[in-house]
């Protein structure tokens, strides 16, 4: 893409050094600059991620032997997997790449100065933090919530633990998500710079755009559902509890009408980032731009119609089960199209295996396994066996961690120099990547096998025949965590002591690479104009 930003590099202070109305921490938490907000999301999400990893570590340790290993009370284990789930889902992967990198790069990639409603954007971050705080406070006030992140009724209504507060936290988080979606849709429609036509938008922007619509349309359903559960708990209104004349399966429908599309809220921006990284490191134009962009929209649309595949064993009608199974299979096709286009983008490119690219290739590998195991569970008869076992747990970790997680780390390594103006040690990043990739597969592939053998999820204890597999999985978790810590440490060191990064370290051509690293407050020193396609690379690569 040709970007005309005449007059840049006149030495405007970058957004990190810009003198704002406040200084210190206030210059962050009261800033309406989309870049600072993006960084704040990133930092809070990664912090929550590490807390979730710590909880996951303890869970795996407990699974090392049958009987008590490190936790003596099942109630504590139940609370740990609940909190692990709530943190990872609602505080890490749902905000995912959209809140962090979306905030930072969406305006830059369309040549805007900021999002459409900067103040609303700051409010979203505050709601996010307040929701997170309330959800975490539920741990320390009253009993540990122990319902699992799905809050299934009637258990979630009957349990004496502090579930109402946890639900309220998630309820607040929902508003943060809706407002962000609203903001981004408006931004894409209204704020594109001259020459930034729809067909020239980078694919990351397309992914964010599709995701924002899901956030706006699906999240309110979750909010209302959780509100009903809270009312039922507090006021005793019978909506879901059969003891009060309610219907527990209705809850599951409402919950998954949101939570299945939420899977696409998590994965679409991740796919968007992969579509940025691959052409840059292959130094050639993306293959099938229209199909990749279109498949994002198709996923957003069809993904909203498959929720009941979480309920095949819950006694839904046979006809419903058959229809939902069929739709589930069809929604796999647009994802497959993306994978084919990414692989084709490598054809006759000039490929450089640097850390962001390694993460992107690992993404394709892990996400494909997630996809194929998803097909297995979409098949009615097979899901009856696999549902609620470790197979499901492993499947969604392949999608959400191997998919969204690895894409997020790839995006982090890709855009880190742009965001912070510094380079990290690429050798250490590569070692961390390798550890994570190996550890991930040792952990979760083993869980796939265990699930096939009938190991149910959310078990504090297990029958002795599963022990060998549990030991292997736990060892895998150690390798994986070693990789995560090495990666985080490497980036933290780079933040302080990394070499100064050039404006365009990877030779990318999307708009963010034509401004300075880090960008100035208003992103470009002069309003840019765009011409040509988003991935027009020269045919010769200088070595």
């Amino acid at each position: 893409m040709a970007v005309d930003v005449a007059g840049r590099s006149q030495g405007l202070p970058d957004y990190l050094n810009h003198r704002a109305a406040y200084s210190g921490i206030l210059s962050w938490v009261l800033s309406t600059d989309h870049k600072r907000i993006g960084v704040m999301y990133l930092v809070s999400q990664l912090t929550f991620f590490l807390v979730g990893v710590a909880l996951g570590f303890v869970m795996r340790l407990e699974m090392l032997t049958p009987g008590p290993t490190v936790i003596s009370n099942p109630a504590v284990y139940n609370a740990i997997f609940t909190v692990h789930g709530v943190i990872m889902i609602f505080l890490f992967v749902i905000p995912g790449l959209i809140a962090s990198f979306g905030n930072f790069f969406l305006p830059i990639m369309i040549g805007a100065k900021d999002v459409a409603f900067p103040f609303l954007n700051l409010l979203s971050w505050w709601l996010f933090m307040i929701g997170a705080f309330v959800a975490i406070a539920s741990l320390f006030t009253g009993g540990l919530p122990d319902t699992g992140w799905t809050f299934y009724v009637p258990y979630s209504i009957q349990t004496n633990t502090n579930t109402t507060l946890a639900l309220f936290g998630v309820f607040i988080l929902g508003f943060s998500s809706i407002l962000t979606g609203l903001n981004f849709v408006t931004t894409v429609h209204q704020m594109r710079a001259p020459g930034m036509r729809w067909g020239r938008m980078p694919l990351f922007v397309w992914a964010i755009y599709a995701t924002s619509w899901i956030q706006i349309l699906a999240t309110p359903i979750l909010g209302i559902t959780l509100l009903l559960v809270m009312l039922e708990r507090v006021l005793g209104i019978g909506v879901f509890d059969p003891a009060r004349g309610g219907d527990p399966v209705l809850y599951q429908h409402l919950f998954w009408i949101y939570s299945h599309p939420a899977v696409y809220i998590m994965i679409l921006p991740a796919m968007g980032a992969i579509s940025e990284i691959i052409p840059t490191f292959a130094r050639r134009t993306i293959f099938g731009y229209k199909f990749i962009a279109g498949s994002s929209l198709a996923i957003a649309l069809f993904g909203s119609l498959v929720w009941a595949h979480h309920m095949f064993t819950a006694g839904i009608g046979e006809r419903a089960a058959v229809i939902f199974s069929l739709l589930t299979f069809l929604v796999a096709v647009p994802s497959a199209i993306k994978v084919f286009n990414w692989v084709s983008t490598l054809y006759r490119g000039s490929i450089e295996l640097r850390p962001p690219m390694l993460f992107a290739l690992a993404f394709i590998f892990l996400f494909s396994i997630g996809g194929f195991t998803g097909l297995m569970q979409g098949a009615l008869a097979l899901d009856i066996h696999l549902h609620d076992t470790y197979f499901v747990v492993a499947h969604f970790h392949y999608v959400m961690f191997g998919g969204t997680g690895f894409a997020l780390f790839g995006a982090l390594h890709y855009w880190f120099p742009k965001m912070f103006g510094r380079m990290y040690n690429e050798k250490i990043a590569t070692i961390a990547w390798a550890l994570m990739f190996v550890g991930f597969n040792v952990l979760y592939f083993t869980m796939l096998l265990m699930g096939w053998l009938g190991m149910p999820r959310r078990y504090y204890d297990y029958l002795p025949q599963y022990q060998t597999w549990h030991v292997v999985a736990t060892v895998g978790s150690w390798i994986l965590i070693a990789g995560v810590l090495l990666m985080v440490g490497n980036l933290l060191v780079a933040l302080k002591r990394g070499e100064k990064a050039p404006d365009n370290p990877w030779g990318g051509v999307t708009p963010e690479w034509s401004t300075t690293s880090p960008p100035p407050l208003e992103n470009f020193e002069k309003a840019p104009t765009f011409s040509g396609g988003p991935y027009d690379f020269p045919t010769e690569v200088a070595r």
Binding site: G67, Y152, A332, I351, A381, I384, G454
Partner: protein
């Protein structure tokens, strides 16, 4: 691969093989292509690139072929699902009730059991599944089937067991504290043996249940009988194989799980049919085991220490100060009080404690009797 012991299991395994086979071929193909490109077009060898932007023909190919492939997969899954959902009207029916945290099996002739579901081999059986409290899921990995136990609903599936033997039953839907201990067994018996057991263990008052009677013939009246007089349940295990309740009963959840096959396999839930006074030691042991199964012991100690609830030590016969609708009152802890406390714990709250105890309205009278006997034994 785990044992496949039923028609459903062979179907599920077949679906798995089909989808797995296709998936492995595609996955390996995609990954091999990816690695090949990465090596072949490495920057070290290639500096000129071809900016091929799209190829509509290819896009169509890799849209249409996957659609066909997933439709094939869908079809196999659908066919296997039909197998679970269809069966003859006169199939033997067992109602399975999930409750925190055990399974109750009720046969058409009134037999009730919790630790072992017995079914005949080679014959379709209809399992009707429901719950008395929260959602559970009745899961038999050897059948490759789980079905949720949803309160207020009845779900069902059909299964024809093909291998005799004893297989694990697990709860697959998270249901609270003791979810991981909601275990049981299913025993697939040769048909003749099953029929003998079925007839011999029909509740005693059943007039027409001669030993040779076919299960379905005795079904109607027996079922009515059972619902009218649930007290008549017997202890099938004791009659057939003479196993006494195990002496080393699980005192804590932990021991329960580390030796489930031995400890859990053949123990009846219902108290022995003989009058309680006849074998009180067995009843006490039974009560202790029930306390572990229903997780009572996670809140109540037997040694005088306070956990979440008051200790059971010395409780029987003592006088307890309780709050009834906020009014303080002193009661003697006799059998009636204990039964009330177990069934409706929140009607009378022991002073100084929170109303945290889950109600147990679904315990059978035998179970409550055994529990009370156990509490009485803790002097």
């Amino acid at each position: 691969m785990g044992t496949a012991a039923s028609n459903t299991a062979s179907h599920v395994d077949q679906v798995m093989m089909v989808i797995l086979g296709i998936s492995v071929v595609l996955f390996v193909g995609i990954m091999a292509t990816m690695v090949f490109f990465v090596v072949k077009y490495s920057r070290k060898k290639q500096t000129s690139v071809a900016n091929i932007s799209h190829h509509t023909g290819l896009e169509l190919v890799w849209t249409i072929i996957p659609v066909i492939i997933v439709l094939v997969m869908f079809w196999y899954g659908f066919v296997g699902y039909r197998v679970m959902r269809t069966g003859p009207d006169d199939a033997l029916e067992v109602t399975i009730t999930g409750r925190m945290w055990s399974w109750l099996y009720t046969y058409e002739n009134g037999i009730q059991a919790t630790d072992m579901l017995r079914i005949p081999a080679g014959e379709p059986v209809k399992l009707v599944i429901t719950s008395a409290d929260v959602i559970h899921s009745f899961y038999v990995p050897a059948f490759r089937v789980k079905w949720d136990a949803v309160p207020g609903r009845k779900t069902h599936y059909f299964v024809t067991a093909e291998k005799t033997g004893t297989f694990d039953v697990l709860c697959a839907e998270y249901c609270g504290l003791q979810h991981a201990y909601m275990l049981s067994k299913v025993q697939v018996m040769p048909k003749a043996e099953f029929e003998k057991w079925y007839a011999a263990n029909a509740p005693a008052q059943q007039p027409g249940s001669g030993p040779a009677q076919a299960p379905s013939a005795a079904a109607e009246p027996a079922a009515q009988m059972a619902s009218a007089q649930p007290q008549t349940e017997t202890a099938p295990d004791q009659r057939t194989d003479g196993t006494p309740p195990p002496a080393g009963t699980p005192g804590s959840p932990k021991t329960a799980s580390s030796a489930p096959p031995a400890g859990k396999a053949a123990t009846p839930t219902a108290a022995p049919a003989a009058p309680a006074s006849g074998n009180s030691a067995a009843l006490v042991a039974e009560g202790e085991k029930l306390m572990a199964r229903y997780a009572c012991s996670s809140c109540h100690s037997s040694d005088g220490s306070r956990i979440v609830g008051p200790t059971f030590k010395g409780l029987y016969g003592s006088s307890v100060t309780v709050l009834v609708d906020g009014q303080e009152r002193t009661v003697r802890a006799d059998e009636a009080y204990l039964e009330r406390s177990i069934r409706e714990p929140n009607a009378e709250i022991v002073k100084g404690y929170q109303p945290l105890m889950p109600g147990q309205p679904n315990l059978t009278p035998e179970e409550v009797r055994a529990m009370i006997a156990y509490i009485k034994s803790l002097k």
